[in-house]
Amino acid sequence: MRVRVLYFASFRDAAGRSEEDREIPPGTRVCDLWDILSGEFSAFSRFPGMPPAAVNRLYQSGDVPLEDGDEVAYLPPVAGG
């Protein structure tokens, strides 16, 4: 199945892209996709554990299984205000 991954701020810089589509196996959870990405983008591994993640624009925990067509974003530490 296929999900859309968004990258923001320092994660965008680290990944060298702001978004992409990813093919992942059915049953892949939010935390599993993070493991895949942090294996690929070495700068991600400076984060101990998974950063906050959003699926379809809502915060979700790592054990949530992804579904085909989901929009997924891992969020570097926020700094609004």
Binding site: A54, R57, A79, G81
Partner: protein, 132 residues
């Protein structure tokens, strides 16, 4: 309750209070010329815009629920801001000042914790640094 790419017009943001409101508290975050001892000439704000919109609405709704009577409005700027420009404005109207102050303070704390917004401080030499 929104993100804007345009400068925040504080005068326009200060709307009329309800007839039962006796207190208005406005908080404005402004771009400073320094951060932890380093000079800053501008800040670039970036947001996960669709999600930030809904998170700002959620912050306002949750604060109103915890402080009954408080009406909360939030506006956050994105893009490149110069020193002195407002980055965020939070307006609370309420029957009494205790509620207005507490709700306004809670709203900015919640926003800073939850809103998917990032900022990159721009130094005088043109380099930038994400605040994390």
């Amino acid at each position: 309750m929104h993100l804007t790419h345009e400068p925040i017009d504080l005068a326009a943001f200060l709307g009329a209070a309800r007839p039962s409101d006796g207190a208005v508290c406005l908080f404005v975050g402004v771009v400073r010329n320094e951060s932890e001892g380093q000079e800053t000439v501008a800040i670039e704000y970036e947001a996960y815009e669709e999600m930030a919109e809904s998170e700002l609405a959620h912050v306002a709704a949750s604060v109103s629920q915890e402080w009954p009577g408080a009406l909360v409005r939030i506006c956050h700027r994105v893009g490149k801001l110069s020193v002195g420009e407002p980055s965020v404005a939070i307006l609370v109207t309420a029957p009494h000042r205790e509620t207005a102050f507490a709700a306004c303070r809670l709203a900015i704390e919640r926003l800073k914790e939850h809103a998917p917004i990032w900022k990159k401080e721009i130094r005088p030499d043109g380099t930038g640094q994400w605040v994390e």
